[in-house]
């Protein structure tokens, strides 16, 4: 059977695959991937046997760290993050929810001191039955991850 790649193969960098359709753009924006200045290929609404539709992001010359990969778990818990070197997968990150997340999101509480001071935002992450809760280290308010994610 003839196979056609919808997204070009990557020589070196990171492939974030199996992102739920619709989350790809959020991930690009929140993790400031475009600001790396590297070539990025994005596929949106690609067909997937398991997921129906998925998004995929390939970033050239950037190897995501374990910590960064875990931060992705907030949006795409089932995503696969593969680090590529010379067209070979050299590391597969297994995503785990991070205990805390720093500098990615702004605190949704407008009266939180973190907005006006020289500090990075910092949330403690806690998985609850059907939701992920994030507690701001500074104002101690607890938010659902969906509320934190839309604020930035």
């Amino acid at each position: 059977m003839q196979y056609t790649r919808t997204v070009e193969a990557l020589k070196q960098g990171t492939v974030i695959d199996h992102i739920p359709a619709g989350q790809g753009v959020n991930i690009l924006r929140l993790f400031k991937l475009a600001e790396t200045g590297e070539r990025i290929t994005v596929g949106l609404n690609l067909s997937s046997r398991h997921m129906g539709a998925k998004d995929i992001i390939k970033v050239e010359n950037v190897a995501l760290t374990e910590e960064q990969a875990n931060e992705l778990a907030l949006f795409a818990p089932k995503a696969t993050v593969n680090v590529i070197d010379n067209f070979e997968v050299v590391k597969k990150h297994k995503l785990e929810l991070p205990e805390s997340i720093e500098g990615i999101f702004a605190c949704p509480n407008s009266n939180c001191i973190s907005h006006a001071e020289p500090v990075k935002s910092h949330f403690f992450v806690k998985a609850q039955a059907k939701d992920i809760k994030m507690k701001c280290k500074y104002c101690e308010k607890v938010f659902s991850k969906d509320i934190v994610a839309v604020v930035r």
């Binding site: 001191i113 500090v119 609850q128 280290k137 104002c139 101690e140 308010k141 607890v142």
Partner: protein, 306 residues
């Protein structure tokens, strides 16, 4: 060995272990029974009130001076370099280089935690926006222990504004370490926030939401009253709610003899003046206890042993 609070920042009640809370309460009791005027000798405390306060500031200043310490500071952020745009981080770096400890109140939530990251000396939170007010909780715990002889297995009703009342949230968190049982009596719009109820659920602590003050009076050891703020309601709604959460002396006929009524003050009309003369009223003694609880905390933070 140094006491566990020596040189520690005092930011938020959930940071405390049960043993640390007990240590402050014990020490406050000792200082009330046997006053000391030497525990802060040679110590200089910075009192940084970026937002006005009456009881908290004056009781901190009283506590420092009664213990033989000195205090510098300001009572209103309007006269400081914060007004000129200086960050809190910079202000605290400088003030902490002058002093042995910094007591602060600030209108923004998280201000004390942030200050602790930039301070070279212990920071004591005197209230950060609607977030925490740990010394109020410590004086409440001290008062509860003083009136009941124990902190264990008490039944407490919180009445009034349970949504915005930060003292209610911290005291609930603290008492849940001692096996308390809670009644929450509040208008629906000012109910206890979900996150506090979820914390209690996780710890398996019993609580009941009730709408009548009369029903709970015979069942409780402590009634913790708070003020329902008029500005949170329209006038008609406020009038309807107001009557439901007012404590009058005649309502206390069914109370246990050990029941004490507490209130973080100021009260407006949620406790009628005739309650003051009953043996259940304890809110003025509670306010006085603020000095002992703050003396205890300052002594523990600034001395290896007390």
């Amino acid at each position: 060995m140094a006491n566990p609070l020596y040189r520690k920042h005092i930011i938020s009640i959930p940071d405390f272990s049960r043993e640390e809370l007990e240590l402050v309460v014990e020490t406050a009791g000792k200082l009330k029974r046997t006053p000391r005027n030497d525990l802060l000798q040679g110590k200089l405390v910075g009192s940084c009130f970026f937002e006005p306060s009456t009881r908290t500031r004056l009781s901190f200043e009283t506590a420092v001076q009664r213990l033989g310490g000195d205090i510098i500071g300001f009572a209103d952020g309007g006269n400081t370099s914060a007004k000129k745009g200086e960050t809190l981080a910079d202000s605290i770096k400088i003030i902490s280089s002058y002093t042995d400890a910094v007591v602060m109140r600030h209108p923004k939530e998280g201000a004390a935690r942030l200050a602790s990251e930039f301070s070279s000396v212990p920071v004591i939170n005197g209230g950060d926006g609607s977030n925490q007010h740990p010394t109020q909780t410590l004086l409440d715990l001290f008062t509860i222990r003083e009136t009941q002889g124990t902190l264990e297995n008490l039944t407490i009703a919180f009445v009034g504004d349970l949504k915005y009342g930060r003292t209610v949230h911290s005291l609930t968190q603290a008492l849940s370490l001692f096996g308390a049982r809670f009644y929450f009596v509040a208008p629906e719009q000012l109910a206890m926030p979900d996150y506090i109820c979820e914390e209690l659920d996780e710890k398996g602590i019993e609580y009941t939401i009730v709408d009548s003050l009369d029903d709970v009076i015979p069942l409780i050891d402590i009634m913790y009253m708070t003020r329902v703020q008029r500005e949170r309601f329209d006038e008609t709604e406020f009038k309807k709610i107001q009557g439901q959460f007012v404590l009058r002396a005649d309502m206390l006929k069914t109370a246990r003899t050990n029941l004490k009524v507490l209130h973080p003050l100021p009260r407006v009309d949620e406790i009628t003046v005739d309650v003051d003369a009953t043996p259940h009223a304890y809110y003025f003694e509670q306010a006085k206890n603020g000095v002992y609880a703050r003396q205890a905390l300052l002594s523990l933070v600034l001395n290896e042993t007390v």
